[in-house]
Subunit: 375 residues, 2 copies
């Protein structure tokens, strides 16, 4: 699935709308105009970014694209999850329509997870869908959210409750961009890399922990390696199941508790921190049920701690507050939450499906124990 390609990695993801390439290549931004022209030809290019990443990456990329003869326009919005709304989606759409962009327009999302999700939803719904290129600049987006085709916005009832599956036409990742992040931001993305190791590749998990300091420091070689391996693992899963009806569920490991804790904290808890704590709790839940091998949780905690991750936060309102959010999870069926449980590190335990219900009192005990104490 991976081959050498101009010094980088080139992964192909299968989707219902055709296969798309994910390039992981130091210096990829410098040849972005040529890559766009070759991989996703269009009459106009709508670059979408936020007002933090826009000046840093969006403006130079648009300038270079114009210099190369592409009709590129930059649209920006205020940075932050607070912009991932139907309102901001409407504004961006109307700005593109005002610029008389048509169906032969390509949307280029330059930024982190919020930009990718919001710009992706714009692309999914603009004139019933135009091609999308993901240019992730955060480690969360490089390692996880730019691959797989999920797009959407938040609403009052919860995060990502409105959206679409709209696979990108290409994903272009330049690991050098990780140098513009700080260690805390990098750790948010590395939590998802640890998850990929936890569910699919024991050796990857071990090597991530070994290279933790280089990864936290934004070392380009280490970043390229981790991003390429995570993309490869995730691509294999979503290629086999694009819409979360089967195998893709395993990517939700750590996310059932993680999402509930994020919601209970009023989204002051960051996603990577929440998922890391969620993995610890869900591994502990699996051990309590006898599904997960004893000792798995402590190995996970060791790996996470190398990145300063995995401590279970006390949540305002306590366990009961998080419990209330569990039933509202998107993956809940008939209002009952579902969990992905490990067999051991690197391997998910399959029941009838890849996720399962767990008796409510077991979940409550876990939350009361896990969330009442940590800090």
């Amino acid at each position: 699935m991976t081959r050498a390609w101009e010094g980088g990695a080139h992964v192909t993801v299968e989707s219902r709308s055709g296969a798309y390439p994910v390039l992981v290549e130091p210096g990829a931004y410098r040849r972005l105009p040529a890559l766009l022209r070759d991989l996703v030809p269009g009459h106009r290019y709508a670059f979408i970014s936020d007002d933090v990443v826009g000046p840093l990456h969006g403006e130079p990329l648009v300038a270079a694209s114009r210099a190369a003869g592409l009709a590129a326009t930059l649209f920006t919005f205020p940075a932050g999850e607070g912009s991932k709304t139907r309102k901001q989606w409407s504004i961006l759409t109307d700005e593109m329509l005002s610029a008389t962009m048509g169906r032969d327009t390509v949307v280029v999302a330059v930024g982190g997870g919020v930009v990718g999700d919001l710009a992706g939803f714009v692309a999914a719904t603009f004139l019933r869908g135009v091609p999308l290129v993901q240019v992730p600049t955060s480690l969360v987006a490089m390692i996880d959210s730019s691959v797989g085709g999920k797009t959407g916005v938040d609403v009052k009832a919860g995060k990502n409750l409105v959206g679409a599956f709209h696979p990108p036409a290409a994903v272009i990742i330049d690991p050098e961009a990780a140098r513009t992040l700080n260690a805390r931001e990098r750790a948010q993305g590395l939590a998802e890399a640890v998850k990929h190791g936890a569910i699919l590749d024991e050796g990857y998990l071990a090597r991530l922990a070994q290279h933790a300091s280089a990864l936290l420091a934004g070392d380009v070689d280490a970043t390229e390696w981790a991003v390429a391996r995570s993309v490869e693992l995730k691509a294999d899963v979503v290629s086999r199941d694009e819409r979360e009806s089967g195998l893709r569920e395993i990517l939700n490991f750590g996310h059932t508790f993680g999402h509930a804790m994020e919601a209970a904290s009023g989204y002051t808890l960051r996603h990577g921190d929440a998922v890391a704590a969620g993995m610890v709790l869900e591994s502990r839940l699996g051990e309590a049920l006898g599904v997960t091998d004893a000792g798995t949780t402590s190995r996970l905690e060791d790996a996470l701690s190398a990145f300063g991750l995995g401590s279970v936060p006390s949540v305002s309102g306590g366990a009961a507050a998080a419990l209330a959010f569990l039933g509202a999870d998107k993956k809940a069926r008939q209002g009952r939450p579902r969990f992905v449980l490990l067999r051991r590190v690197g391997c998910v335990a399959k029941a009838d499906t890849w996720s399962r219900e767990v008796p409510r009192d077991t979940v409550e005990a876990m939350l009361t124990h896990g969330m009442g104490t940590g800090g």
Copy 2:
């Protein structure tokens, strides 16, 4: 493609998300709960309708579904194109979320084109997409808009500029519902049937004109026949090209001028009337260019006149106003409008693709001639 099925027609449409059935069957509403249970099983059913069709069809269908043990809820909105907005889409989505509906919910659209497009867009984006059942109650929706997967809303810049391709899981058509319409409403749908004949089936066009009075009167047998044949013709086209990249373009015959006239009239001109006039103009354009056989336009006008259709309206602002809207058409490329031209009745003339650009002065001459005179 058609087989007898409980006395009705059963057409299968291929789509990227799998094949779906279109049932055309007098009395289908009476077995709707059983059809839903068999064809599209779900934990909850969100019926969406407007405040005119809701009391007429939505409420009895929801009551019957509940009596049959389905968890069905009716959501309605104010009738009319004015409700086909992002705002109304947000309201319906939030109402479904407030009712704690999850991914195992099925959206059932009961109504005409506006209901189908709006409810379809809700289904396309609710938790990144849930199954949709189209239950068209107008002849436009039965003959045309319920099949093919187009969903969306209008924005200030134009109609249907925001939306998604979201193929239904099933389309259930009861020709008896046409009895609740008036002749003027029926004619709006029959304009699209004439279009199907004009581009694909000369014999169908001739028989439509022969049976015009029965069709305008809402005769159930005649309606069943025309709906089934139109669905079969359209299904064959969209099965071969779901996203309008190729063959599906032929369904836009009459629509380039039609949309421009609708827009220029401020949408006081009805869609069927606009498309009928658009077909006349585009046929005349084809004859002027030597692409369309001489005499084609007059045969089209004869067929349309049987339904009281085909007169070219004078448009407020005149030809120049309509011209301004031509470049803004969704199918325009690089700002230049494209036209589908007939070879003769029942056959589209293919250039490099199924649509083509036409020199601007030829278009202007056509509009000045065609739109300055009619009534």
